[in-house]
């Protein structure tokens, strides 16, 4: 479960892909699209935070880069929506590499690294709130143009399949990382950077590369957000909310695992909805329940949902083998 095979990934995606065929409810589709969007952003975080062991509190920097590039290139420079989206991903990767290079070369690690990323995200947010090109305080509205060429669709289903495809792509990337030497180096750096360096691993280069990949994935989520909601401003694009969601999903789901962000995103979003249903409309009460359950989840599933399932599995295994032993013994 923690290191899925390509087949397992394919199966999960295939099952998820059938959802729009089974329900016409836009309530459900919208919920799933947002959950998948968060899963995508979270998977990006997971590459750097889970596999790389470097917690970032500023992934909004990459999300916002993807979102703004997608929006600005389309609205101000007439670039085709898909092209703008692709450029947004590349821009995200570049920003990621830049931030990574600057911070890792200075030897920043751990909490210091986390807070520096927060500072970078805030710098970008403030710049976006005053710069004319981002529309400053007004934000950017992408004009309604419901054609596939413009990356907009009349129905929700194509959006769903696209974000699902992006999530699938991110799963493949993570899978490749798990199987590759790069991944091994990354994990080695995570576990003990000094030892890894002593063995000849260029820790800084590895970490920078991981940041670039991580940023690209989260930037894709940002670009998708822009196309789905058609409106962004500095608070939406670079705000702390997405930095938090991007780390919440993988940690709740199972940090450093391929399916962690996906599971975590679903659980966290579903929790929010259930809390709303349970409490009616007294303002804030649903979030009190949400926060409390979050704390409980951490208390009872310290290695995330994936860890919980793995524990469950090994317990079932032990139960099975002890039953078999007794039967045969």
């Amino acid at each position: 479960m923690s290191r899925p095979s390509t087949t397992q990934i394919f199966l999960v995606i295939a099952v998820l892909a059938t959802v729009p065929l089974l329900t016409a409810s836009n309530v459900v589709l919208n919920f799933l699209i947002v959950a998948l969007l968060i899963a995508l952003a979270g998977q990006g975080w997971n590459v750097l935070g889970g596999y790389g062991g470097q917690y970032s509190f500023g992934h909004a920097a990459f999300f916002g880069t993807g979102a703004y590039l997608t929006a600005i290139l389309q609205t101000r420079y007439g670039v085709n929506a898909w092209g703008a989206f692709a450029l947004g991903i590349m821009g995200g990767a570049l920003i990621g590499a830049a931030i990574g290079a600057v911070t890792f070369r200075s030897g920043l690690r751990g909490s210091y690294f986390a807070l520096v990323t927060l500072a970078f995200a805030e710098v970008l947010r403030i710049l976006a709130s005053v710069a004319p090109i981002t529309g400053a305080g007004v934000g950017i509205l992408i004009p309604l143009d419901l054609r596939p060429q413009a990356f907009q669709f009349q129905s929700r289903a194509p959006f769903y399949w696209i974000v699902l495809a992006l999530v699938a792509g991110s799963l493949i990337i993570v899978h490749r990382i798990e199987q590759s030497r790069f991944g091994a180096w990354l994990v080695a750096v995570r576990e003990n950077e000094d030892a890894a360096s002593a063995l000849g691993v260029d820790a800084t280069r590895i970490k920078v590369a991981a940041t670039a990949i991580s940023a690209a994935i989260t930037a894709a989520a940002g670009g998708f957000y822009a196309q789905y909601f058609l409106f962004i401003d500095s608070g939406i694009a670079f705000g702390p909310w997405i930095s938090i969601e991007a780390l919440l999903a993988p940690i709740v789901g199972g940090i450093g695992t391929a399916f962690g962000p996906l599971l975590g995103a679903f659980v966290v979003k579903a929790l929010g909805e259930l809390a709303k249903l349970a409490t009616g409309d007294a303002p804030g009460l649903d979030l009190v329940i949400y926060g409390s359950v979050l704390v409980l989840i951490v208390a009872f599933a310290p290695r995330g949902i994936v860890g919980l399932l793995a524990d469950l599995r090994s317990r079932i295994e032990r139960l099975r083998s002890s039953v078999l032993q007794r039967a045969h013994g």
């Binding site: 690690r109 807070l115 005053v130 303002p283 804030g284 704390v295």
Partner: protein, 290 residues
């Protein structure tokens, strides 16, 4: 450019604001230095203390400066309990889980306040809130001058506690070497809780100092959190002196950047300076190891 008539008061204002930032950051830096956790709930706890300070006046008629004497021990106890019975047990000692727990707590506290007290912005209209001290070059509001003084006193007290008392030494021991401290017989869980309690107590003081000139609503603490984090790292995590000087420094930087770049863009000054300091001094101005 800008004449001394504006520059001098701006710097003084920055110092006064910075003192309150420092107080908020003091709690955070202690908590980080000892527990090695980034307390995401700090902003929400500040909000809670501000509500307490507000209601102390509204319901009990207690002037905020007097209320501080009551609220500080109260919130020390609350903070102690929070760490001992909620955060510690839930996190199972795993740092990243503490992050999530404090995040969850922040959501709970903020929204419980929203649910209980609604979203209205509340302010206290105290007589002395508009009094100013004439320093010649500047009019400085009395509550802010008082806040500056009290912040310095609190920082000094904290420093004394850490240096001279047994508990303080135990705190420093746990901060430096948790396992060693435990093996020496120090009750680490208790020390963690005491530290957290001290952190929350600092917030209670900060709240009482802020409430005469500021306002309170369920989201008010959030405005201070990022700045507080910045100060903690800038000053060096775990350093009381660092938090105080860092706070004053950030207050002045914020003020001057606001003056020259405008209040909106000026906010960038804090974060840019923060990034620069860290790139050249990764452990902060007064910090120990990363």
């Amino acid at each position: 450019m800008l004449s001394p008539t504006i520059l001098a008061p701006a710097i003084l204002n920055g110092v006064l604001t910075g003192a309150v930032y420092a107080l908020v950051a003091l709690g955070l830096t202690l908590i980080y230095g000892v527990l090695h956790i980034i307390n995401f709930a700090h902003g929400a706890l500040l909000t809670a203390t501000m509500f307490a300070a507000f209601f102390a006046h509204r319901l009990l008629g207690l002037d905020p400066y007097l209320a501080a004497l009551v609220l500080t021990p109260l919130f020390f106890v609350l903070g102690y309990g929070l760490q001992r019975f909620v955060i510690g047990p839930a996190a199972h000692g795993d740092d990243r889980n503490v992050l999530l727990v404090t995040l969850g707590l922040a959501v709970v506290i903020e929204n419980a306040l929203l649910y209980a007290f609604r979203a209205d912005t509340r302010t206290l209209n105290l007589g002395y809130a508009f009094d100013v001290v004439d320093f010649g070059i500047a009019f400085l509001a009395v509550p802010r001058v008082v806040a500056f003084g009290v912040a310095l006193v609190v920082a000094l007290l904290l420093w004394l506690i850490l240096s001279l008392t047994d508990t303080g030494k135990a705190i420093r021991a746990v901060a430096k070497e948790r396992l060693g401290a435990e093996l020496s017989g120090i009750d680490v869980a208790h020390i963690f809780a005491v530290t957290f309690g001290l952190g929350t107590a600092c917030l209670a003081v900060a709240a009482c100092l802020l409430i005469p000139t500021y306002y309170v609503n369920p989201h008010v603490g959030n405005a201070f959190v990022l700045v507080a984090f910045t100060i903690v790292v800038l000053g060096g995590m775990g350093s009381v002196t660092g938090a105080l000087l860092g706070g004053l420094f950030v207050g002045v930087v914020e003020s001057l950047c606001g003056l020259y770049l405008g209040e909106s863009l000026g906010q960038i000054g804090i974060f840019v300076m923060f990034i620069l300091v860290l790139l050249f001094r990764p452990t902060g101005l007064f910090g120990a190891r990363a």
